[in-house]
């Protein structure tokens, strides 16, 4: 394996991580399933390329513009669909994702189904790592604020959340908006890495892939999201030795995790400094008394219990 190949996989990990982080806020912390986030990636990708090539904005600004456009697109969609109960929202996002893809297929301004080629390859391992790290940092801080806690409350018990004064629609919209911004930035990173855009890249399969990464990593855990997206991006590549069987092994390992750990890899727990301390502590001493430090680091203050 040469460095160029490994670097490529790492960049893909960073792109996926950025998108999955946003989706993790929506699915893992707010409890809303989306099967249309590839649609937001598409919007962000095309908008970022438009901003960069047609408007001549510098790369970071173009990426943010892509994220912002995806976020703005999410607002009317959220307003229309977030009043729907669980499953209906999921179906609405599925429809949105497919609609975006079909629109892009048919609008010739963006190259239609042939795609948009000749995008300068600007995404490097350095800037994708920077974006993913910044994204992780922001997300960790967000979920440990009252805003994050309100979203978790909606996931846990929406009716009760509303009766303690949480504006459920507002927080669901906020969660969808932020997740769309993350997806949009990821879409921009992807466009500037591959050097071309094609509506086909943003199919429902792509959306499903993102959702699988969230669930695989564990609902309501940022560390799980990071682990899940890196493992599931790298796994198909590591399995190339199995040739034709690699996708079977990929599917089987996802099913294996779902059966053995239905809550996902991390299942609402976080890897934190307190967690490492716990690991290093001799066996048998770690009693029932939850250490105070874990509270601050766990998702929504949940400590790690074994």
């Amino acid at each position: 394996m040469n460095w160029f190949y490994i670097k490529g996989i790492l960049i893909l990990c960073g792109i996926n991580l950025t998108a999955v982080l946003g989706l993790s806020l929506l699915t893992g912390f707010t409890g809303l399933f989306s099967f249309g986030h590839a649609g937001f990636m598409a919007v962000g990708g095309y908008a970022a390329v438009w901003a960069g090539l047609r408007m001549g904005l510098p790369f970071p600004v173009a990426l943010l513009a892509g994220g912002l456009v995806a976020g703005i697109v999410s607002l009317p969609i959220g307003r229309l669909t977030l009043n729907l109960k669980g499953d209906y929202f999921c179906i609405a996002t599925l429809g949105f994702g497919e609609a975006i893809r079909l629109v892009l297929d048919n609008v010739q301004t963006f190259g239609g189904a042939r795609g948009w080629a000749g995008i300068p390859v600007t995404t490097t391992l350095f800037n994708v790592t920077l974006a993913a790290a910044l994204g992780t940092f922001v997300m960790v801080r967000l979920v440990h604020s009252r805003h994050g806690r309100n979203m978790i409350a909606i996931r846990e018990e929406e009716l009760a959340a509303r009766t303690v004064g949480i504006n459920a629609l507002k927080y669901k919209m906020m969660s969808l908006f932020i997740s769309a911004v993350y997806a949009g930035v990821a879409g921009g990173l992807q466009a500037y890495y591959l050097g071309f855009l094609q509506p086909k890249m943003f199919s429902m399969t792509r959306s499903t892939e993102l959702t699988i990464m969230v669930i695989f990593g564990g609902i309501g855990s940022i560390s799980g999201t990071v682990l899940g997206s890196i493992l599931l991006t790298a796994l198909p590549e590591l399995l190339r030795a199995f040739a034709l069987w690699r996708l079977v092994v990929y599917g089987a390992s996802v099913i294996f995790i779902m059966i053995s750990r239905p809550e996902g890899l991390m299942g609402g727990k976080e890897i934190s400094i307190a967690w490492f301390r716990r690991l290093l502590r001799p066996v048998g001493v770690g009693g029932a008394g939850g250490s105070g430090g874990a509270g601050g680091a766990g998702a929504g203050g949940r400590g790690v219990r074994q």
Binding site: V138, R141, L142, H144, S145, R146, H147, G148, R149, N150, I152, A153, E156, E157, L159, A160, A161, R162, T163, V164, G165, I166, N167, A168, M174, G220, G268, G290, G295, G300, G301, R302, G303
Partner: protein, 261 residues
Amino acid sequence: MSDILEVRHLTKRFGGLTAVDDVSFSVAEGSIAGLIGPNGAGKTTVFNLMTGIYKVTSGEIMFEGKPVHDLDPHIVAEMGVTRTFQNIRLFRRLSVRDNILTACHGRADYNVADSILHTPRYRQGERRLATESERLMDLMNLTEVASSRASELPYGLQRRLEIARALAVRPRLILLDEPAAGMNPDETMQLMALIGRIRDEFACTVLVIEHRMDLIMGICENIVVLNFGRKLAEGSPEVVQNDPAVIEAYLGAHEEVSAHA
């Protein structure tokens, strides 16, 4: 004493079924009032109408002189009315501390940018929320189980946590929906003492739905009796207990009544 809550000609229809039929009553500020009636009398529907979960068909609900019907539940909560649920609805996977901390959210006003940058406003706000939730857990004797998952608590404690979470909203009127359901006599006694303390220490008016007559008769100053969506009687425990219509609804004087109840 003035009335904190006034229900006027409240009616709720679900299709052909009239769940609440022209019910009027009022609750005095600082009192403990009871709402009783056989199963299906429309008690929980009244709570759902008061907290904005259902929209009223007609009539009005005035809280401190302002209408609260047909508002979103979170706005009703901000105005000072909150509730517990018949089938406990906790944030099950969160710790006791986080259940209360979450409900305290209205006490801090920092925005998303503050949380990401950890500005002084964020730190102050978080400190205030933490102090407030510790105080509440202390008052409600939940400090010992602060780190336990809500779903792992014994039943009685889950009920108490739900009340504590409602109090975190700083309500001026708290609606308790069958708080003693599934409790043993000992736990019920504790609950009665607790409800009295809530009224005194949190300066909060209490309206409670309950089937346990010992509890209702023991703590309520005023009782409203519903049957088939209509108000049957209202008054002090003595008055209600001796009301022939109430006795009939509960024990069934006629065949047709007992068949329904």
